[in-house]
């Protein structure tokens, strides 16, 4: 999937992979790759400014902690983040349904 197509949805994707629990930056990148089957073609570094932006918006909380013997910055979905994720899911469902309806070949089209 092309980077430009992904960028507009990156925030929602990050919120989704943090729904199951706190993760550090690289674990979030790994989860994005795993859940997309490796089809997200995006510079991995773009995840870090996105995490800072979501933290600034209070959708994530970030803190340094020791994970696996190393200091890592770990992110947790906040209540506002869960609410935002629900909203993004609803928006995406509506958007994809509309686009799918328009793109679907019309009945009788060759």
């Amino acid at each position: 999937m092309k980077p430009d197509a992904v960028r507009g949805h990156l925030d929602g994707l990050i919120l989704a992979v943090l729904e199951s629990g706190p993760r550090h930056g690289y674990a979030i990148i790994e989860a994005l790759q795993a859940r997309s089957g490796g089809r997200l073609d995006l510079p991995t570094g773009t995840v870090y400014p996105a995490l800072r932006r979501l933290e600034r918006a209070a959708l994530l909380s970030g803190s340094w902690s020791t994970v696996g013997g190393r200091e890592r910055r770990t992110y947790t979905l906040t209540r506002a983040g869960r609410h935002a994720l629900s909203g993004q899911r609803a928006d995406w469902t509506e958007f994809s349904a509309v686009v799918d309806a328009v793109l679907r070949p019309a009945a009788g089209a060759s």
């Binding site: 930056g25 990148i29 510079p43 600034r56 209070a58």
Partner: protein, 224 residues
């Protein structure tokens, strides 16, 4: 692999050189990027690549400094804007209350003040309230989830500069008008001394934060 030849160290050093912003946030951001790249290198090594190839692959996946620096800088700039706005929201009303308290307990000049001084005092109060109100709006804007337009931080810096110049300038004029000057007030009571010192220190912090905000807004613009 020496540090000079290590693609990860070179990449991180270049980002560190290019980025500008609040020290604590920038150090945290750079440390996080370094950790991420270290994890990526370890991941590639587990898949069988030698250290040099693993580091090169991790940096390639990460993206170029040209791609990432503007995105990271936007966040540093936004944090500076939030810091300045928060400083204004807290400091300006606090100083207003502190000065009112000084007048109320009699450490200020003896009423009635001259019409000019009274008008200037009202103008300082109004400027303080307007500055704090504008800062509160700008502070709220920094909580939006989308990338924060850099002009927001620039405007926050401008509001801070105008607030401090306006209040400071009018206060200096008031001080130059008799009957009582700041020096006399400071000598008159400890409360006034504390408030005068707090005002001077706060003015210094606000001025520095204002300059940083306007400068970082320009840095963000140059990187895009």
């Amino acid at each position: 692999m020496t540090a000079a030849l290590d693609p990860v160290a070179t990449h991180v050093a270049e980002l560190d050189r290019v980025l500008r912003g609040p020290g604590v946030v920038k150090r945290s951001m750079i440390a996080e990027v370094r950790d991420g790249l270290t994890d990526a290198v370890a991941d590639y090594r587990e898949r069988g690549l030698d250290p040099e190839r693993a580091a090169t692959a991790a940096v390639r996946d990460f993206g170029t400094v040209r791609e990432l620096a503007p995105l990271l800088q936007d966040e540093l700039t936004a944090r500076q804007g939030r810091h300045t706005a928060l400083l204004l929201v807290v400091a300006f009303p606090a100083l207003l209350v502190a000065w009112d308290a000084v007048w109320a307990v009699g450490d200020g000049w003896v009423p009635p003040a001259s019409p000019t001084v009274a008008a200037l005092a009202r103008a300082v109060d109004l400027t303080t309230v307007l500055t704090a109100a504008a800062a509160l709006v700008l502070l709220a804007v920094t909580f939006r989830g989308r990338p924060l337009p850099r002009w927001v931080t620039g405007l926050t810096g401008l509001v801070a500069a105008l607030g401090i110049l306006g209040c400071g300038g009018m206060s200096i004029v008031m001080n130059l008008l008799k009957p009582v000057q700041v020096g006399d007030m400071a000598a008159a009571g400890p409360a006034a001394t504390v408030v005068v010192a707090a005002t001077a220190v706060t003015a210094g912090f606000v001025a520095r934060s204002a300059v940083r905000s306007m400068r970082l807004a320009r840095v963000s613009q140059q990187l895009h």
